[in-house]
């Protein structure tokens, strides 16, 4: 696991505050850094590295889902006032892509999707979480509306998997299949199943999902 070192002590404090989670100081420290004329891109970098370390610690079971969610909230809070600064200077932190995620129709198991959502956000993706038990046509409507690059489908239930096939078939019927990459994850999903329904990617877990989605978007 990589713990980062920064030359600027304020950036180190921001990073540490993110990683320690207990403290909710990260946004205040980011604001202080901005007031002290630290480069906004460096501040965003410290925050991003911080949340990535939290993600790594979660993978290693050194911290837990609520802490991951709290860290993502701190990051979002800081970005609220950092984003206008970036815009002013016509800078972009370059969202890696836009994803809509949902649990398939009939499936109410949120936790895996929650983990994936937070980990993807931490990796720089814009993630729209549509929740659980979502019908295929609604998933597609939202992907169109939000100009998504990727549709992420999750299921813990074997009996909800057929709705993934429905989603892909409906994308084809609506002439939208080429617009979106479709990836799947969840305890009931297998690589073979993804292949059988012509999904674009299988995500064994959130960490692999980041790699799969990054690769799909870069090759899109």
């Amino acid at each position: 696991m990589e713990y980062y070192k920064f030359e600027n002590p304020l950036l180190q404090e921001i990073y540490n505050a993110m990683v320690e989670i207990d403290s909710d100081n990260a946004p205040a420290l980011a604001k202080k850094a901005l007031q002290n004329e630290v480069d906004v891109l460096q501040i965003v970098d410290a925050l991003t590295k911080g949340i990535n370390t939290v993600g790594d610690r979660f993978e290693a079971m050194e911290c837990f889902l609520p802490e991951l969610i709290i860290a993502a909230g701190l990051m979002n809070e800081a970005m609220e006032f950092l984003r206008p600064e970036l815009d002013k200077r016509d800078l972009s932190v370059g969202a890696s892509g836009t994803i809509v995620v949902a649990n398939l129709q009939g499936d109410i198991h949120d936790i895996g999707r929650n983990i994936a959502t937070v980990m993807l956000q931490a990796s720089g993706f814009v993630v729209h979480d549509l929740g659980h038990d979502v019908k295929p046509d609604l998933i597609i409507d939202k992907a169109v509306e939000l100009k998504a690059d990727v549709i992420g489908l999750s299921s813990l239930l074997t009996t909800s998997l057929p709705y993934a096939k429905d989603t892909i078939n409906l994308l084809k019927e609506r002439g939208l299949r080429e617009k979106f990459k479709v990836v799947m994850g969840g305890a009931a999903v297998t690589p073979d199943y993804c292949t059988s329904i012509q999904a674009d990617g299988y995500c064994k877990d959130a960490a692999q999902g980041i790699k799969v989605i990054s690769s799909l978007i870069s090759g899109k």
């Binding site: 837990f64 889902l65 609520p66 129709q105 009996t159 297998t190």
Partner: protein, 456 residues
């Protein structure tokens, strides 16, 4: 049991709470309780003998249950209980029951340490997707195993070429067909009265339970399952299953599956959430049994050190403080036809038997692939009986489990899913292939060499 209408009333009129607030409150409360009771997970002590910590898990679980209650996500209302209500529910919960009928009936016990009885062994393939072609022979492979006391079904995923879908009409048909075929498997094995645990595995919703609540399908000597949603939540679909059981007198079992690394935190938080979930399900669902299934947030399997420890400490906690009929799931990463599944099987069997638990069977490949068979269930039962007869101390059991863990630990990252039933058994004769038997004998000899004295 409580008047169930009172539970429904609380689910409609209890205090309002947003789900996110409930989740975060759980984390904070479980974390604080873990610190207050000095709960610690030690990766080298999987089968625990720590009575003080076990008692702390029980008391901490009780306090968590009182503090949190159970959230109905249908109404966002808290079903709350006071301590007296929860302790009364534990007191009046069944301690012993006869499952099944006639000569095939077996006693399920709320186990305690040293009460002279081994666990009740459930065999089957819960959660495993099975086709119409393979369903009957797979279930016969379990029914034919004499050391299996009760049976649990896999899930029928297609009917007449169509997918069974959550909340779809085929959930009804699949659940009914599942029961008919499991009963046929039992009859053909000469054990027609055997208890079918968690009937209706082919349906994820209350449709299945309602569909089979009829002597033609689920007999009153069988049971059905009512899950607690992770963590400490329920909904109208779960409560509808309770309502079904309220008027149809089959046995009932909860399913409590805290996620290790999830909203309750790490292993110690998951142990508290499991204890609290069992207590709340006893009060809210009035179930006869409980299925324990801690889930590792990355590897799913119960054969991880974290999950086996959670089961062990919770088994000890209830055996000492409020014995209940607890059945632990034994889901493995590996599949049939591999040595790895047998190492996982032995570790789980020894850990569960030594922690005063019963078992709710193996779920090979975590229930993802139909790579399962009766042979690994036979091995599970043999390990259980060996551990029981040998009167393994927790320390001896722990030493064996750690040796076995080293044998299969690499499989979490690179699983060996093994082979489907039709490639490890002759599906006409319902006997294992020689190759699969050879692997079984080799691993059994190896485990015997580690110090487990098999009876046969």
């Amino acid at each position: 049991m409580f008047n169930f209408y009172e539970i429904l009333r609380r689910a409609e009129e209890g205090p309002y709470m947003k789900e996110n607030d409930f989740d975060m409150k759980l984390f904070k409360t479980a974390t604080n309780l873990g610190k207050e009771y000095s709960l610690k997970f030690d990766r080298d002590v999987i089968v625990t003998a720590d009575d003080k910590m076990a008692d702390a898990v029980f008391e901490g679980g009780m306090r968590l249950a009182i503090e949190m209650g159970m959230l109905s996500v249908s109404t966002l209302r808290l079903i709350q209980f006071n301590e007296a209500e929860l302790r009364l529910a534990l007191k009046v919960a069944p301690k012993e029951m006869l499952l099944g009928a006639g000569k095939d009936a077996r006693t399920m016990r709320a186990r305690t340490f040293g009460n002279g009885h081994p666990m009740t062994v459930c065999g089957g393939c819960p959660g495993t997707p099975l086709s119409e072609d393979e369903f009957l022979p797979v279930m016969m492979s379990y029914a034919k195993e004499p050391l299996i006391d009760i049976i649990i079904s896999g899930s029928l995923t297609r009917i007449e070429g169509m997918d069974v879908r959550t909340n779809g009409p085929l959930e009804i048909r699949a659940s009914r067909q599942e029961m008919l075929w499991v009963r046929e498997a039992l009859e053909r094995a000469g054990r027609p009265g055997m208890h079918i645990y968690a009937s209706g595995e082919s349906s994820a919703t209350e449709l299945g339970t309602l569909a089979i609540a009829n002597e033609h399908y689920m007999r009153t000597t069988d049971s059905h399952m009512i899950p607690v949603l992770s963590e400490l939540k329920t909904d109208n679909a779960r409560l509808s299953r309770v309502m079904t059981g309220y008027e149809y007198p089959a046995f009932t079992t909860s399913l409590v599956n805290p996620i290790i690394g999830g909203f309750a935190g790490g292993p110690t938080g998951a142990a508290l959430a499991l204890a609290a979930g069992i207590i709340l399900a006893t009060a809210a669902y009035a179930v006869d049994m409980h299925c324990l299934h801690p889930i590792h947030n990355k590897y799913i399997s119960v054969s991880t050190k974290e999950a086996m420890w959670v089961d062990s400490i919770v088994g000890r906690a209830f055996a000492r403080n409020a014995p209940l009929a607890l059945l632990a799931d034994a889901w493995t990463t590996a599949g049939a036809g591999t040595a790895a599944i047998l190492y996982e099987t032995a570790a789980l069997a020894i850990a569960q038997e030594s922690s005063a638990l019963n078992t709710d069977s193996l779920g090979a490949t975590n229930g993802v692939y139909p790579n399962c068979s009766g042979l690994e269930a036979r091995f599970f039962a043999e390990c259980v009986h060996a551990a029981f007869n040998q009167k393994l101390s927790p320390g001896q059991a722990n030493s064996l489990v750690l040796q076995l863990f080293d044998k299969y630990k690499d499989g979490f990252e690179n699983p060996d899913y093994g082979l489907p039933f039709s490639q490890v058994y002759d599906p006409r004769k319902i006997v294992p292939t020689q190759t699969w038997l050879d692997i079984y004998h080799r691993v059994k000899d190896e485990v015997a060499g580690m110090g487990l004295n098999f009876i046969t």
